[in-house]
C-alpha cells in the first residue's frame, strides 16, 4: 500500500488527454484514451506488454505524434506548440526511460551536467557542481559521480536516470517501466525513490508499468490499459476487486509471485 504522499490538488489538472488515437500501419495501438492527471498525483498505467503504454507516454512527452485527439500539458496543447515552445515546456517534464538511456560516452557527472548547463546558463561552475551533488545525494548515489554508465548496475542506472531528470526540477514526471528488469529488492528501492521524489520535489507523475508491486506502492490511482483503451480505474483495491478476467489474470500472476 502506498504511503501517504503530498496532498492531491483536484482543482488543478496538469495533464489532460482527450480521445487520443494512434495507429502503426494496420494496428490501432491507442483507440480513444481519456485521462486527467491532477497536481501532486501519481497515476499508474497498468497493462500487458504491447498494450500501448510506452506509445502513450511517448506521445505525452512529444516524442511521437498522435493520429488524433488532444494532449494538454500544464495548459498547453502539445500539438499546437512550435519547437521553441515545446523545448520550454519540456523543462517542466521529466522522463525516466525504461533503458535508463544514460549517455554512455559520458561519466555520471557529465550525464547530469549535460542538461543542466544547457538549460541553466546562469549557473556558475560551483553552483553546477553543488546541484549535481545535491541530486545525486537525493538518489543515494553520490559515490558514483566519476563512474561511467557501463560500470553501474541496472538499479544504479535507473537512479542516475531519475537524478538526471530531477536536476531540472520538473513538475511532471513520466516513468516508463521504472522497475523493469530489476531484482525485487532493487524494485522496492526504486518504488521508495519514486515516492520520495513525489514528496520532496512536489511532482505529479504517470508511471507506466506491468509490475503490480510497483503499482501498489507508488500509485494514488491505477488505470488499466488493454486493447488501446482504459477499461478500469480507481485505487489499487477498487481496480482489483472485480471478476473481470483481464484484471484477474494480472492479479493472479501477482499473487503467485508474492
Amino acid at each position: 500500500m502506498k504511503s501517504a504522499g503530498p496532498k492531491i490538488d483536484r482543482n488543478t489538472i496538469v495533464i489532460s488527454i482527450k480521445d487520443l488515437q494512434k495507429s502503426f500501419g494496420e494496428m490501432n495501438v491507442l483507440r480513444g484514451i481519456d485521462l486527467d492527471l491532477y497536481k501532486g498525483e501519481n497515476v499508474v498505467i497498468l497493462g500487458r506488454s504491447g498494450s500501448g503504454k510506452s506509445v502513450l507516454i511517448k506521445i505525452i512527452a512529444g516524442l511521437l505524434k498522435p493520429d488524433s485527439g488532444m494532449v494538454k500539458l500544464l495548459g498547453s496543447e502539445i500539438n499546437n506548440l512550435d519547437k521553441k515552445e515545446l523545448l520550454a515546456l519540456r523543462l517542466k517534464i521529466g522522463f525516466s526511460f525504461q533503458s535508463s538511456a544514460l549517455y554512455d560516452g559520458m561519466s555520471v557527472w557529465e550525464n547530469l551536467q549535460f542538461p543542466l548547463v544547457r538549460n541553466r546558463r546562469d549557473l556558475t561552475k560551483k553552483q553546477v557542481n553543488e546541484t549535481i551533488e545535491q541530486v545525486l545525494n537525493d538518489v543515494g548515489l553520490l559515490q558514483t559521480i566519476d563512474q561511467m554508465p557501463a560500470e553501474l548496475s541496472g538499479g544504479q542506472k535507473k537512479r542516475i536516470g531519475i537524478a538526471r531528470m530531477l536536476i531540472l526540477h520538473p513538475e511532471i514526471i513520466l516513468y516508463d517501466e521504472p522497475t523493469g528488469g530489476l531484482d525485487p529488492v532493487t524494485c522496492v528501492e526504486i518504488n521508495n525513490l519514486i515516492n520520495k521524489v513525489q514528496l520532496q520535489y512536489n511532482t505529479s507523475s504517470i508511471i507506466i508499468t506491468h509490475d503490480l508491486s510497483c503499482a501498489k506502492s507508488t500509485g494514488d490511482r491505477i488505470v488499466m490499459l488493454s486493447d488501446g483503451i482504459f477499461f478500469r480505474q480507481g485505487s489499487f483495491e477498487e481496480v482489483f476487486n472485480t471478476d473481470d478476467e483481464r484484471v484477474k489474470s494480472f492479479y493472479n500472476y501477482y499473487i503467485l509471485n508474492q
Binding site: 519540456r90 522522463f95 538511456a101 549517455y103 549535460f114 542538461p115 544547457r118
Partner: protein, 269 residues
C-alpha cells in the same frame, strides 16, 4: 475466368510493391533534403557547442593521423616506383617530381584521404549515432529540453568539414615525402630540388580545387554518417546497417562528386 483472375494477382502484387518502393524512395529523398535543410538552419543559429566541435576535430583528425600517414607515405613511394619505368623509356625521369605532384595534389590526396576517412570516421559516426538512437539516448536529450541535432549532428559535420582539408594537406606532404625518398634513392636529388621541380606544375587552381573538394567530401561523409545514424531503426541490426550504409553511400557520393568537380575545374583550366 477464375484462372485469369488468379494469374493477374501476382502482377498486381508486384505492381503495388513497385509503387511502394518508388514512394519510399521519394520519401527518403525528402528526408535527406529535410536533414540537410535542418543542418543549414541550425548551423547559423546559436548557442554553439564549441567544446564538442573541438573534441570531434580531435577524434576525427588526431586519431586518423596514423592511418593517413601510412596510406600517404606508401602511396607516394609506390606511385613513384610504378611511374619510373614508363618515364625512363622516354628518358623523362626528370619529370617524375612534377608528375607525382600533379597526381598527388590534384587527385590522390583529396580522393584517398576522403575514402580512408569515410571508412574510418563515417562508419564510426553512423554506428555511434545509431546506437544512441536505438538505446533512446537521443530521445533522452530531446526530452531534457536540449537539441540533440545541434549537439550530435552539427558538431560532427562541422568537425569533419574543417578537419578533412587539414588531413588532405598532410596527406599531400607525406605523399610527396614518400615520393622524394624513392627519387632520392635512385637519383640522389636534394629535397629542395625535388620540391622545386614538384611544384613547378602546380597552380593556385590545383591547390584551391583540392581544398574545395576536401571540404565537399568532408561535408558528404559527415552528413551521410549522421543521417544514417540519426535515423537508424530496428535495434542492433539497424546499428550495423547504419555503419555499413554510411560508408558505402559516402564513398559512392565521393566518386560522383569527384567526377563533377573535375569537369568543372577542367573548364576553368
Amino acid at each position: 475466368m477464375d484462372t485469369a483472375l488468379k494469374n493477374s494477382q501476382p502482377h498486381q502484387k508486384s505492381g503495388t510493391l513497385q509503387r511502394k518502393k518508388i514512394a519510399s524512395f521519394f520519401v527518403s529523398v525528402y528526408d535527406v533534403y529535410k536533414f540537410i535543410a535542418g543542418f543549414f538552419k541550425e548551423v547559423f543559429t546559436g548557442p554553439y557547442e564549441f567544446k564538442e566541435i573541438v573534441r570531434q576535430c580531435y577524434e576525427i583528425g588526431c586519431k586518423s593521423l596514423a592511418i593517413i600517414t601510412l596510406t600517404a607515405f606508401i602511396t607516394g613511394i609506390v606511385f613513384t616506383k610504378q611511374s619510373r619505368p614508363s618515364l625512363s623509356e622516354f628518358g623523362a625521369t626528370s619529370w617524375l617530381p612534377s608528375l607525382i605532384a600533379i597526381a598527388i595534389v590534384r587527385a590522390l590526396a583529396p580522393l584517398m584521404t576522403a575514402l580512408v576517412i569515410a571508412g574510418k570516421v563515417g562508419s564510426n559516426m553512423g554506428a555511434e549515432l545509431a546506437s544512441m538512437r536505438v538505446t533512446e539516448q537521443i530521445d533522452a536529450m530531446e526530452v531534457s529540453s536540449t537539441n540533440p541535432f545541434k549537439f550530435l549532428v552539427i558538431t560532427r559535420v562541422l568537425a569533419i568539414t574543417i578537419t578533412l582539408p587539414v588531413l588532405v594537406t598532410y596527406f599531400a606532404f607525406l605523399g610527396l615525402a614518400g615520393a622524394y625518398l624513392n627519387v632520392h634513392h635512385n637519383e640522389s636529388t636534394s629535397f629542395t630540388t625535388f620540391m622545386t621541380n614538384a611544384f613547378v606544375k602546380i597552380s593556385f587552381l590545383d591547390l584551391f580545387s583540392s581544398l574545395f573538394r576536401s571540404v565537399v567530401y568532408g561535408f558528404t561523409i559527415g552528413i551521410t554518417g549522421c543521417f544514417k545514424g540519426y535515423n537508424a531503426k530496428q535495434g542492433t541490426v539497424g546499428v550495423g546497417r547504419a555503419a555499413n550504409s554510411a560508408v558505402v553511400i559516402s564513398m559512392f557520393l565521393i566518386f560522383i562528386e569527384e567526377m563533377v568537380i573535375v569537369q568543372i575545374v577542367n573548364y576553368f583550366r
